[in-house]
């Protein structure tokens, strides 16, 4: 039997109409039959019950006065009722009188479950072919016996059979009428659908999207036909657009500068290739399309095994591949490095991979050259860094050595101008008079001058000694500073010392003290404008190094400037709620605007003997301490001002070492 979904709509509609009609007929007929049977049976039971009551009433006297003959005579009247098989009167639990229709072989089983002295209760009992009614017989409200009547259900069966025959007749007629009506009405429904089907079949066979279905009705099928035609219009438009788009993409594919090819996901045969790929692999198009992927892939772990699952990949397995480096073979056998990007696509009803294999042989060579150059550059940079360290050390040591030289010159000059020669001449004067030294110093006119002279000389020598001790101390301090510079620069200016709360003004005084003589010699006026500020948290030696550098630069600018008098101004103040500033301003040669932009760059200097390191390292050191170093100048000849900002020390700050560098 053909499945329903394979049948035509006409048959389906006929079947639906038929089933609907028949279902309605069968259900209503069955319901009616059940209702009639139940009603019939109810009437039968009611009739039997009435007859039982009448019998009970008619046999009360016979039961009361135990007249069996009269009772049986009364029961025998039931012979007129053809459907009654038997009737029995029970009295005190025993059969008192009974009636059996001749030919009936059915007896009535008394109910043994109750007391035989008590009359049975009213009841109805049904079997497949009989119904039995039990009724009590009462006399003045007191039960005196029971009457049992049993009737067969042959009339009911006959009624049901008759009813079923009628139902079958209605069933048949309904089927016929339903089929006739369905055929009549289905024609109007089916015609538009058949027209649609014919049009769709023609389009499917001929691929002719200009075909249109004829609208033959104004109902839903008419709307469906119109929608179908509109859909065909859109399909036609989209097919045209798709053809144009495909042509455009084919041009793009062909003319793409990226080597691109397409291969079958199952057979790995090449399906399409563009001109760039042909030029890269140096095949003709016919040659390339006769090959498969293994012909150009050289590695055993090729694109095939690595990226494409086989033999039946699922959708999940088709993941795009990006930036996969492979080595491919050209027609002439030379190898090229390619970077492969692949995307799974659907190409003419088959799974395929669109592969862009860009030749990166030149790029890889360039990368190797670049890596070598980079390595060389790193080595050069390392050497440059070492030179920078050395330059920094020499620069800072040179600054301090100026002070050391000054101190050493002073000591030498003072020692050269020492009064020790006067003491020697005095001792030479005293040597001839050693025998009579007392007389000489008391009586001789020259001798009387010796004692006051010695006293004066002693005071002078003591004063000179103090000055030399001071200079020696300064020399010691400077040498210690050189030691610190060397130690600090050994860690390439990244290792900081201990940060501690420092007085900004004291820092200026320390730095100035190392250069004070050079300023005095050059007639440079020094002005101090120290506003009261809190202490700053900084590395003492780094700050001193910065300030020494700034003061030295200022001295150089003042020496080369034209302003008279030459003036160096040192300022201390509050820059912000968190920072203090220490400024070194001069009215020297000034700084050109273009130089201001580069003044903190490594190697930039305006001095003939400069290295371009001091300000660079000073700015770095200031940043490391959480501060900054800035500059301002109104231009050449108008002086300049350098401003060092440092963070305030917390109230409870204690000297702390910075975290060690990695």
């Amino acid at each position: 039997m053909m499945p329903l979904h394979q049948r035509s709509i006409r048959r389906k509609l006929n079947l639906v109409a038929l089933l609907t009609c028949l279902t309605a007929v069968v259900l209503s007929g069955a319901a009616l039959l059940v209702h009639e049977v139940l009603t019939f049976r109810g009437k039968l039971v009611s009739e039997l019950s009435t007859q039982a009551r009448i019998l009970g009433r008619l046999t009360r006297a016979a039961l009361s006065f135990e007249d069996r003959v009269e009772a049986e005579r009364t029961l025998s009247e039931l012979n007129q009722q053809k459907h009654i098989e038997c009737a029995i009167l029970y009295h005190q639990g025993t059969v008192f009188a009974e009636f059996h229709r001749s030919g009936s072989n059915h007896g009535v089983d008394p109910d043994h479950s109750h007391d035989p002295n008590e009359p049975m209760a009213d009841a109805e009992q049904y079997t497949a072919s009989t119904v039995t009614v039990v009724r009590r017989i009462e006399l003045d409200g007191t039960p005196i016996g029971t009457v049992v009547i049993r009737a067969d259900l042959s009339d009911l069966r006959a009624y049901a059979v008759r009813h079923s025959v009628i139902l079958a007749g209605v069933f048949g007629v309904s089927t016929l009428v339903a089929l006739l009506m369905a055929t009549r009405f289905h024609r109007s429904i089916l015609r538009p659908i058949q027209e649609l089907t014919r049009t769709a079949r023609t389009i499917a066979q001929d691929q002719d999207f200009t075909q249109r279905a004829q609208v033959v009705s104004d109902d839903e099928t008419g709307e469906l036909t119109q929608a179908f035609n509109r859909m065909l219009d859109r399909i036609d438009d989209q097919a045209t657009a798709l053809r144009q788009s495909e042509a455009r993409y084919r041009i793009l594919f062909r003319s793409s500068p990226l080597p691109t090819w397409l291969f079958d996901a199952e057979s790995f045969r090449f399906l399409e290739v563009n001109q760039a790929a042909l030029e890269t692999y140096r095949f003709t198009e016919e040659e390339f399309l006769s090959l498969s992927v293994p012909d150009v892939c050289t590695q055993s772990a090729s694109l095939l095994q690595n990226a494409i699952p086989a033999p039946a990949p699922t959708d999940d397995a088709f993941q795009p591949i990006r930036g996969c480096l492979r080595r491919h073979r050209r027609k002439d056998g030379t190898l090229i490095d390619v970077e492969v990007c692949a995307d799974p696509i659907q190409y003419r009803d088959r799974r395929a991979w669109l592969v862009v294999a860009q030749d990166v042989t030149t790029r890889k060579q360039a990368e190797a050259d670049l890596a070598a150059a980079n390595e060389k550059l790193i080595e050069t940079s390392r050497q440059a860094g070492m030179a920078e360290v050395a330059t920094g050390v020499l620069h800072n040591v040179g600054n301090v050595l100026n002070s050391v030289n000054v101190s050493a010159t002073l000591i030498r000059d003072r020692l050269g101008a020492s009064k020790l020669n006067s003491l020697r001449r005095t001792t030479d004067l005293l040597k001839p008079h050693l025998e009579s030294l007392g007389e000489f110093v008391t009586r001789d006119p020259q001798g009387r001058l010796v004692a006051p002279f010695l006293i004066q000389l002693t005071d002078h020598l003591l004063e000179e000694q103090n000055r030399l001790i001071g200079e020696a101390n300064s020399l010691t301090v400077n040498i210690e500073h050189i030691k610190e510079i060397v130690s600090m620069q050994q860690s390439f200016a990244r290792v900081s010392g201990v940060r501690e709360p420092l007085e900004p003004a004291a820092l200026f005084e320390d730095a100035l003290r190392m250069n004070i003589d050079s300023f005095e010699k050059r007639g440079i006026l020094i002005e101090r404008r120290f506003a009261p500020t809190s202490r700053v948290l900084a590395d003492r030696h780094k700050v001193l190094q910065i300030l020494l550098n700034l003061i030295g630069n200022a001295r150089h600018a003042l020496e080369n400037g034209a302003q008279i008098p030459r003036k160096l101004t040192l300022l201390v103040g509050v820059a912000s709620p968190t920072h203090a500033f220490l400024a070194v301003a001069d009215n020297g040669m000034g700084i050109a605007p273009e130089a201001l932009m580069r003044i903190f760059q490594l190697g930039f200097t305006t001095k003939r003997d400069g290295h371009g390191f001091g300000l660079h390292s000073g700015a770095n050191a200031a940043r490391e301490m959480g501060g900054s170093l800035g500059v301002s100048s109104d231009g050449p000849g108008l002086g300049a001002s350098f401003r060092l900002e440092l963070p305030f020390a917390p109230p409870d700050a204690t000297p702390t070492a910075p975290p060690s560098s990695p």
């Binding site: 009360r60 006297a61 009361s64 006065f65 007249d67 009269e70 009295h91 005190q92 006399l139 007191t142």
Partner: protein, 186 residues
């Protein structure tokens, strides 16, 4: 005194002997005659309709008068066990004079002497009092219903003329069971 005791013992012995003889006369499994008659006497009330002014149902218990020898004792035997019977519904009185019968609803003439029976029937001639006897001649001789033993059952004879004269009405079902007889006077 000794004579009285001796007579009492003799009477008791005769009574027991009589009862024993009566019991032996009934076939085994069947209901004794007077027990059946007692049940019938009770059931007559359901099939006899008294005039409204004399309906014993209005004043229970109805009074059953015994004229002659009382075979039942103070109460109807087994009456309460019979279907439709209610021993308390009948109160037994023994009537020794014809006038005693006027206070009854049903009167059972049991082996009464013909003189007392005749006198009583005359007194009751126009009173709606059901008279029941146990001889075949009773209904013909002025009684209403006779309970005549026949073929191990009780056969009823009814004199409807006599009944109708007193205003009583016999249920047709009862009449259907009974043999209709006519009185000698009719």
């Amino acid at each position: 005194m000794l004579r009285v005791l001796a007579l009492t013992w003799i009477a008791l012995a005769l009574t027991l002997a009589s009862l024993s003889a009566r019991g032996q006369s009934d076939p085994p499994g069947s209901v004794p005659e007077y027990q059946l008659k007692a049940a019938f006497l009770e059931r007559f009330r359901a099939f006899v309709h008294w005039p409204a002014s004399h309906d014993p149902a209005q004043a229970k218990p109805a009074v059953l008068g015994i004229v002659g020898r009382n075979p039942f004792g103070p109460r109807l035997p087994l009456a309460s066990k019979q279907p439709g019977g209610d021993a308390r519904a009948l109160r037994l009185v023994e009537c020794t004079t014809p006038e005693d019968t006027l206070h009854c609803d049903i009167i059972f003439f049991c082996n009464a002497g013909s003189e007392l029976t005749s006198a009583s029937l005359r007194v009751l001639a126009n009173h709606p009092i059901l008279t029941v006897g146990e001889t075949a001649e009773f209904a013909r001789a002025g009684g209403m219903i006779s309970m005549v033993p026949a073929d191990r059952r009780i056969r009823l004879e009814i004199n409807p003329t006599r009944v109708a004269r007193t205003g009583l009405r016999i249920d047709p079902q009862l009449l259907q069971l009974a043999t209709i007889v006519q009185g000698k006077d009719s």
